[in-house]
Amino acid sequence: MFLNPMLAAVGLACVAVPVLIHILMRRRRRPVAWGAMRFLLEAYRRQRRRMNLEQLLLLFSRCLLVALLALALGKPILGAAGALSAAGPRTVYILFDNSVATGPGSDVSGSAGEIEELRAMALRSIGGLDRARGDRVGLILLAAPAENAVLPASSELSAVSEMIKQVRPSASRADLPGALIQLREELTRKDNADSSAWVVVLSPFRAGSADTRTSVQSLGLPAGRVAFIVSEPKEKPVGNVSITGLDPVRSVMLAGEEPGSSTSVTVSLTRSGPLDAETSIVSIYAGAAREVSTTQGAAASISVAWSAGQSYAQALAGFGSPRPARPGDPVVLTATINPDALSADNRFVRPVETRERLDVVIITPGDVGVRGEIANYRAADWFALALSPSADLSFRRRQAGEIRISTVDPEQGIAPSTGTQRASRGAGILREADAVIVPRPDLLDPAAWKAIRESNDRGAMVLVCPPAGPEVHTWTDTFINTMGLPWQVSRESRKLATPLSISGERPPTSGTDLLGVIAPELTALVGGVTVSRMLDARGTQGGLEEILRLSDGTPILIAAAFGESVGETPSETGNTRGTLLYLAAAPDVEWTNLPATPFMVPLMQELVRQGVGLAVGSRAAVAGVPPKLPRGATELVPAEGQGQSVIPISASGVPQIPIRDAGLWTMRSSGGSTIGAVAFNADTAGCDTTPLTKEQVARWLSPAASNFTWLKAGDPAAAPGGVADSVEHRLSRKQETPPISVPLLIAAAIVAAVELILARIFSHATREETLGEQRRSRGAA
């Protein structure tokens, strides 16, 4: 590839000139009649091989000299900086950063945001191209996931310019690695495999838009085929505070709560840039899904004082429980902070699911009720009593509270529907349940376990405990297999030598803390609770989470991974499986005195209230990151009127169109019913305004662009044309440079010197001079 291909071609053709000269000179020379020809022929016979070698060496050196001069004039493209031919059509790929880091702020680049500066550079870049010349431009937007806006490159330059004018900053982080993958696919297309291109990367290159912890893959293209022009990183430090979390204490708010009750939320904040001492004012708004506007009065307002160097803070705020517009509709919590560098991360929306009450099903033969003597209470009775402690367990009372308790008799059959048979009544009840408690698993047949599994898959919390009666438990295999648990549950109960108490120190949790609300009082609550018999369960790392332990460390209450599928990939289940708990001791006086202690009530209340909330549909997601939506959700409907259309959800629970903007969406099932809400918030990882140096950016980009040109937005050399002029400037500067390749010229000079030396040696010029001197001296004599 040459900058002056015609010159190179003509020059290379000139390699034949020495040969032609040799041939022509042979023809033009008049022969010399020579008398002593026999001696000349004899000398030639002796020296023929040496002279041929000398002639070939001379010819080769002269041809090489001409070739090097031709190549020097042609200016071969040896580096990435010369990938674009000055003569041919140019292809420019613009990798445009419209991530959250380029959004508007108060003190970065005014209200317009850095995207306007990048936009101007991109437009000028396109403006420098010439459609008549055959120039083309491609556009990839970097907001995660990187979006193929114009690929393959188009010659409709004005249309691409209009498209760039319409680009708005998103709420997701920059995805340059993904953009480079798309670029590589484009450049390696069959019909594009041999062309060269400019790649103009326009980004502020702060820590949020250039995640140097991730690696950029190589384009895998030959050196010199792609020339990179990269905007210089913004080195001015600016401070920015992001809201990274807004977590209510209760995952599910019950509409039946009495007026005047309060709700607590935890607000998480991170800070980047200069970590000076400052104060952030956090305002929290609460309302129905359609009332998320922050124009109304704040439900709570707290002040977070940052100390110097502090980058993370949490604050707890309490306010009156909001009421949903309708029972069952989500309540939306919104947190905002005072304006700073980036505004997109100053607002965090969190929908909170509301229920009129929680439906808890206890699978037990007969009904539950007050039994009088403690010894008469069955496990089901203890569970019912703990969940409805103020009631007398009459059916009417049980149905009227915040937790509605129903029972299903396993002996009457719990069979889910099949292709030919309708579901039994019990299975129907389970399908609507928020929580299922199984105190007598030994009475369940496989069909019943299957119905419980279906209920759990839909999000219902399931609590299983061993029955009190038998010492040998044959149900455990069916339980493990049907529920798909990577656990091992003993078949024989173990009587402890001495009753052990429950430890007040809880093991660390990896997910939402089910007992977080009562954690401060846990030590006092577990006092006096002992366990004398248990049915042990063990599980592999990651498939089992301990919630409560005995004093010797034996887990007594364990759970499958909260909110995560157990033994299955998220894509298979949509990640909506409910919490699954196993209590290793039967709530029976033969096993433990737990049911008779005060701890039983808060324990069951928290397990049900928090456990149900973990699996419900309402959740917060991150813009640009595929959310894990519950099974059954088939489409997303914008709840804030973002001007977007309905987005279908794939079978794997992922929106078919990536969502890059912040906003609130409601999830609908195939039947059109709302099954929850999901809020997409700004990707705070992309809001890190920590400045990066050129070296850091260069090192990060090095796998893809080992050699590139920096582009400074305010570079006078680039003005007034910005990138385009800069591209042109690079080219014109190429032309201003010596119109010849200096390294090749040096090589040609070396070859010329070698040729001169060889010619002098082979022509025996020294001897000629000596001969001339002899003649002169003889003439003088």
Binding site: M37, R38, F39, L40, Y44, H764
Partner: protein, 340 residues
């Protein structure tokens, strides 16, 4: 006067034809030869008290007029007393003192790098046939003419053979004055003549042919560049030695052949039918000179190995000095052999 004997295969040169003998062209050429021979001989004897051209025999034969340079010891004072004229006594020539001159007229003898104007000594810029270069053959004919002139003037018998691949012209031995004309005609068989151009040297065949004409021992002067193989030269000299002849080897070369100082890569073309060769002369010069001088040394070594005299002559040098030194050396040798 003897009649020139021409080889049947060679057309008779116009100078040898009696009908055009007095043609001005021929006369001018004759004058040139005669003058050239005179100049050489007179140059040799000038300033000497003793002419080197005294008779080579002891038997008295006749008188001849004195010419400056003759040895005064040979003056016949009795004749001077009677006639008041200076005459020298000439002695009877012995049969083995006949001179036969062999002149090489092959293609290679046509080479010359010295200008004719410089070499002829007459101010002529070109020869009668337009040649501007003094060739080896020109040099050989001058030498042959000089030797024949001297010999004839001394009353000795002289014969001449001009040869290339075979004898092209032959003049039988004679001491008559007409022999001079025949010699001049025979020497006109110049290799520049298109009919003779490109002919190779074949000394052996020539010797065979000449030996057939000679019955007694002679002095044979072979004038050539001797660009022939060493074997052929050895065989030829051996044959002459076996027949009892005394041979003088005159090897005529051109300075350009000795130096090979060419710089232009023009193709070299053989003058005896050799293939042309395109070569950079500067790159092959050393090898050429090695081969050339080795051959020269071989010729001299062969001549001396048979007891013959050897004299190298360069076309760029005057004939007088080498010829004088040669005659002096030869006289001394004869004197040693006859009277020593």
């Amino acid at each position: 006067m003897s009649t020139a004997e021409q080889n049947d295969s060679v057309p008779r040169p116009p100078e040898a034809d009696a009908s055009i003998y007095l043609h001005p062209h021929t006369l001018s050429r004759l004058a040139s030869f005669e003058l050239r021979a005179k100049m050489i001989v007179e140059g040799l004897s000038s300033g000497q008290h003793r002419s080197p051209y005294q008779g080579l025999s002891v038997e008295f034969a006749q008188h001849r007029p004195y010419v400056p340079g003759d040895d005064l010891r040979h003056l016949d004072w009795k004749v001077f007393g009677r006639t008041d004229k200076l005459h020298l006594k000439q002695h009877q020539q012995e049969t083995n003192l006949d001179l036969v001159v062999l002149v090489d007229a092959s293609g290679s003898m046509n080479y010359g790098s010295r200008s004719f104007e410089d070499a002829s000594g007459e101010g002529n810029k070109a020869s009668f046939d337009g040649r501007t270069m003094w060739s080896k053959f020109d040099h050989a004919t001058a030498l042959a003419a000089a030797m024949c002139y001297i010999t004839l003037r001394q009353g000795d018998r002289v014969g001449l053979a001009v040869y290339s691949d075979e004898v092209r012209a032959l003049v039988r031995r004679s001491s008559s004055q007409s022999t001079w004309r025949q010699i001049v005609g025979a020497l006109s068989v110049h290799p520049a003549d298109p009919k003779n151009r490109g002919r190779e040297t074949h000394l052996k065949r020539t010797v065979d042919q000449v030996m057939g004409k000679l019955a007694n021992r002679c002095i044979i002067a072979a004038i050539s560049d001797f660009y022939i193989g060493a074997e052929e030269l050895r065989d030829s000299l051996a044959q002459l030695k076996h027949a009892g002849h005394d041979v003088i080897v005159f090897q005529v070369v051109d300075r350009a052949e000795e130096e090979f100082a060419f710089t232009d890569s023009a193709p070299f073309e053989g003058m005896e039918g050799e293939p042309a060769l395109r070569v950079d002369p500067r790159s092959i010069r050393r090898a050429y000179l090695d081969v050339f001088h080795a051959h020269m040394a071989t010729v001299e070594k062969l001549a001396r190995s048979f007891g013959f005299d050897y004299q190298k002559l360069s076309t760029h040098d005057w004939l007088g000095p080498p010829l004088a030194s040669f005659v002096a050396r030869r006289n001394a040798r004869i004197k040693r052999s006859k009277y020593g």
